[in-house]
């Protein structure tokens, strides 16, 4: 593959504590190496530019059945919103882009790793087919567990070891990456058109509370020592006054510490927290409780969060939180798709318009930014838009702009129809903080990689790690006075090197290196009871045979397996 050196850039690598030092980064055979070992490298001149590791996205809905429903049922998302072809394949769609556009756009922004936020296990072959067709970026996918009948039964009876054995089996069956939990219990209740509105609301029939599902899955996760932690979408998400439920959920992590060999410190990752930091008791008096939430998060090291920043676009919401999407349909009366998945989960999809003319939208916008701006530790607070729920991932550069520039925030706020009411209901106007490039590197690379337990490979520039380097045309010693230049620089990276190959240049994709599927293979002792339970449920209740449910090797594409052995 040869050698490459990125010379004279301002390097930001939080994993090594490098804060904008002018230095070179070397790559040989796809891996970062000490620059003095290079013999005759190709050179990239990064003088006057910012150099970071390739970006890592901890939570985005990019592949799989509900994403595809969003694509299928929204032809209007393509109309006048798709760019003309300029790579190998056409690029269609805006809020829910085609697989090809997804890969290309992430590469243009300097990202190399994207964690698919929710994989219904029954649909894993679909997820892997889409992963195959998503170019360049490495993908992992998290199967959902929080409403899975096996999990509910085991946890109800405190059978952590059995649940762990089942979890290991399902991760292998679906070639999954981590334990995702969406509206624990509530989505199962949705099977009957019901919901679990707080963590003590018992799941119909299964007679277990969401609280117990959450703690049970934390225990399972740490019992197995998985790379990533339990990844939680809280109960009662998206409703006014839900911050108390969120705090209740966060408190469930108290007393747990991370046990793993992957450098991860948290036991709970709470995702798109913007959607669960609302005060008030109706859409009329909704306000921001981001400060309350962040005070708690700041004080508790065993929790990480991501933002779920509203970008004020017309987008497509999609989540395994079936009852929430049904609720949302009632709010905006747009079209509603839903799929309940047997024994496992559900999903809903509803288009949504976040408008600067709508008070709730602009309050949501402020809540998201407040979360990051109140954070004391940006290694635990990550940039996401819960793509495409609060906005498409292609808006990350805009989110970065808002975070780095008070002036940019002010300019956006000037467009709000209900500016006074927004300022009244939030504290965004009182915050002057502007994040630094180092902090952005923490939020978009080092932090997510560490939280995902993959910081030995992704998210940093230490020798031995993957040769993934993003170069942005931003000079930290001479930052542009116009914040729009920041957005521009992060939208179209000057260079993206992936696995040592120059993949994008000047914001355009120039080549398509092979992409990978990352999954976690857990070895657990033989467990006859779990094997029997699997046999029984598939015999009687699933509509697919167990042999056909488990992903065939031929449908797994370019795998990179992370092994965990619990039998030692």
């Amino acid at each position: 593959m040869g050698e490459l050196i990125v010379k004279n850039g301002f390097v930001f690598d939080p994993l090594q504590g490098i804060k904008g030092d002018r230095m070179d980064v070397g790559v040989r055979d796809g891996k970062i190496v000490e620059t003095n070992t290079l013999k005759n490298p190709k050179e990239i001149d990064a003088a006057g530019m910012t150099v970071m590791a390739g970006g890592v996205d901890i939570h985005a809905h990019v592949v799989g059945p509900k994403v595809n429903v969003g694509r299928l049922f929204r032809p209007e998302d393509k109309l006048f919103k798709s760019p003309l072809k300029r790579c190998n394949r056409m690029e269609m769609g805006f809020s829910v882009p085609s697989t090809f556009k997804t890969g290309y756009d992430y590469a243009r922004m300097g990202y190399v790793f994207v964690n698919e936020a929710a994989m219904p296990p029954l649909h894993s072959p679909h997820v892997h087919e889409e992963i195959r067709d998503t170019p360049i970026i490495d993908n992992a996918a998290m199967p959902v567990f929080g409403n899975n009948w096996f999990t509910l039964d085991y946890l109800k009876n405190n059978e952590i070891e059995n649940n762990a054995a089942y979890t290991a089996w399902l991760l292998r069956a679906t070639r999954g990456f981590a334990i995702k939990v969406v509206n624990p219990g509530g989505t199962e209740a949705w099977g009957w058109g019901l919901n679990c509105e707080n963590i003590h609301d018992t799941v119909p029939y299964f007679d277990i509370t969401p609280a117990k599902i959450i703690t049970g899955l934390i225990e399972t996760n740490e019992f197995l020592g998985l790379p990533h932690s339990m990844h939680l979408h809280t109960n009662n998400l998206g409703n006014p006054g839900n911050y108390t439920d969120t705090l209740d959920s966060l408190r469930l992590a108290e007393g747990y510490t991370a046990k793993n060999n992957f450098g991860r410190d948290q036991v709970m990752h709470v995702t798109h927290v913007q959607f669960c930091s609302y005060g008030g008791d109706s859409w009329k008096n909704i306000d921001s409780q981001a400060k309350t939430i962040m005070d708690y998060v700041n004080a508790h090291d065993n929790i990480t969060i991501d933002m779920g920043q509203v970008t004020l676009d017309e987008t497509t919401t999609m989540t395994a939180d079936g009852p929430f999407e049904h609720h949302l349909r009632g709010l905006n009366n747009l079209k509603w798709a839903n799929t309940d998945v047997e024994l496992e989960t559900a999903a809903g999809v509803v288009p949504y318009i976040y408008s600067p003319n709508v008070k709730v939208s602009t309050i949501q916008w402020a809540v998201g930014l407040e979360l990051a701006l109140y954070s004391n530790d940006l290694m635990r607070t990550f940039i996401t838009t819960d793509h495409p729920n609060a906005g498409p991932f292609t808006r990350y550069p805009r989110v970065i702009k808002w975070l780095m520039s008070r002036a940019a925030r002010d300019a956006t706020m000037k467009t709000f129809k209900w500016l006074d009411r927004t300022i009244e209901s939030t504290t965004i106007d009182s915050i002057d903080r502007e994040l630094t490039l180092y902090e952005i590197a923490q939020m978009t690379r080092a932090g997510p990689a560490k939280a995902l337990g993959i910081s030995n490979t992704y998210g940093g520039l230490a020798p031995g790690m993957d040769g993934d380097i993003a170069v942005y045309a931003l000079n930290p010693e001479n930052m542009p006075s116009d914040p729009d230049r920041i957005e521009e620089a992060f939208s179209r990276c000057a260079y993206l090197v992936k696995d040592g190959v120059v993949t994008a240049r000047g914001g355009e994709v120039v080549t398509e290196p092979a992409k990978r599927t990352i999954w976690v293979d857990v070895k657990v002792p033989e467990n006859a009871q779990v094997q029997r339970d699997i046999y029984e449920h598939f015999l009687r209740h699933y509509s697919v045979g167990v042999k056909n449910y488990q992903l065939f090797d031929e449908h797994l594409h370019n795998p990179r397996v992370i092994e965990v052995d619990t039998t030692q």
Binding site: V69, F73, M92, P125, E129, D133, E342, V544
Partner: protein, 455 residues
């Protein structure tokens, strides 16, 4: 010693039974026995080896076919696509998703129109889904939870023989331990079909008046009065049916061609979706299209993730995909004689299209890709035989509820016969070569200037 292969998926209908047991001969060439399949499914396997060709056949000036090599057939196809202004690639009901993805690559390279059987089948469902959404579920949900089942304009007894026993009426699921006894079955059909035989309530709707009846259902559901007779059905019967649906714990409406191909078409499906949505204000209801072929759901899925459109994809603009059924749908294109080359794969357009479009299509090169001879292959200029997906070729197919099922191979294809996927990959390679040859002879066209969305 014969070999038993278990967990085999059935390459017939959208029910996608995956519990077949197929016994094959020792040499892996003959199918001896098929267990668990319905009569149609079992016939697909038993007749797999009948009337097969091992080589492509090219039409000669005297009207007869001559066998040619795969390389020659691929070269012929690539040249037809390369020279055509608006080729149409249509079919795909009976192949795997890998083949569909490869075909899309070819269509994009060639600047073709890409369409599937939904165009003449559940396409109207897509139109309704675009407008109104799709509150649905997987078939296992219906089996485990449903206590009320509605079949509307569908006759699974004949079209989807194991649908009722695997998923809807008869099975005992987790919360439905009584099976058939615990379920109410409502069948709405102008005919007294064999499905209507097992119904608790059969509403004999006047043909073409489904929309009226749905409207009456919604009206009653919302607590309003209706006329004494709507769409040929008595008010009492409607009220009774709505009451059952409203009191259900979990219900599923399965609808078929009776809705999407009678008067109203997409509007019938649209109001069926609205009814389902309304019912969800009271209890839990879902709706599902009874998709026909075993993988007709596949192209809708594959092309949605590749281009964002499920069918009627016009890729002839080469830099952007465009979908507008009526303008870019196969039959309409052919009716207007806009297509100047036709590839028919995994379905039989000659048998299914009206005669006028077939006549128009027949004026231009017609290439049929199918394991067996059929009407399309027999009137074609070139017939390229391929392996049968689910019998000789493995791969992923999508069941009618969008659940991916991994199909297996049970026997070898006739010697030398390749898969759809390999065929399209090779056509793609040949197209790239032809383009490269062109580039040497003709100065390259300027690359289109990209425009970012939102700019």
């Amino acid at each position: 010693m014969a070999k038993k292969i278990e967990n085999v998926g059935c390459p017939f209908c959208g029910v996608c039974c995956d519990d077949l047991v197929v016994t094959v001969s020792d040499d892996g060439k003959k199918i001896l026995e098929v267990e668990n399949a319905c009569i149609i499914g079992s016939t697909v396997f038993h007749r797999a080896m009948e009337d097969r060709h091992a080589l492509p056949r090219l039409r000669q000036p005297d009207g007869t076919f001559k066998e040619i090599s795969y390389d020659e057939a691929i070269d012929y196809t690539a040249k037809v696509l390369h020279n055509a202004k608006k080729p149409l690639i249509y079919g795909f009901g009976s192949t795997n998703c890998e083949g569909m993805a490869a075909a899309a690559k070819v269509a994009e390279k060639a600047g073709a129109v890409l369409d599937n059987c939904a165009s003449i089948c559940h396409g109207s469902s897509f139109l309704a889904i675009f407008d109104n959404g799709y509150p649905s579920c997987t078939l296992g949900e219906t089996k485990n939870r449903a206590d009320v089942i509605v079949y509307w304009g569908a006759n699974p007894s004949h079209a989807h023989p194991r649908h009722m026993s695997r998923y809807s009426i008869f099975p005992r699921g987790f919360f439905t331990g009584k099976g058939h006894k615990g379920r109410k079955i409502i069948v709405i059909d102008p005919r007294h079909t064999d499905t209507a035989q097992v119904a608790d309530i059969h509403l004999q709707v006047q043909q073409g008046h489904d929309y009226d009846l749905f409207d009456a259902f919604r009206t009653v559901l919302r607590g309003h009065d209706i006329p004494d007779v709507v769409a040929g059905v008595k008010k009492e019967q409607i009220v009774e049916a709505v009451d059952i649906m409203k009191k259900a714990r979990f219900g599923t409406i399965f609808y078929g061609m009776g809705l999407c191909h009678s008067d109203g078409r997409n509007h019938n499906v649209d109001i069926a979706i609205s009814l389902t949505r309304d019912l969800n204000d009271f209890t839990k209801w879902t709706i599902m299209a009874m998709r026909g072929h075993y993988n007709i759901t596949g192209p809708g899925a594959v092309w949605s993730w590749q281009y964002g459109f499920p069918y009627c994809l016009d890729l002839t603009k080469r830099d952007i995909a465009h979908m507008n059924p009526g303008e870019t749908s196969s039959v309409d294109l052919a009716m207007r004689d806009e297509v100047d080359a036709f590839i028919n794969i995994g379905t039989d357009a000659a048998a299914h299209f009206p005669i006028e479009p077939v006549k128009h299509l027949r004026k231009h090169p017609w290439i049929a890709i199918d394991p067996h001879p059929n009407m399309a292959t027999e009137i074609s200029d070139l017939h390229i035989p391929v392996g049968i997906v689910g019998v000789e070729v493995p791969g992923i197919v999508y069941r009618m509820d969008n659940v991916p099922i991994q199909y297996r191979k049970v026997i070898d294809p006739p010697e030398g016969v390749i898969s759809d996927e390999e065929l399209f990959e090779r056509i793609h390679l040949r197209l790239c070569e032809l383009e490269a040859e062109d580039a040497v002879n003709v100065p390259a066209k300027a690359a289109p200037e990209g425009v970012r969305a939102g700019e």
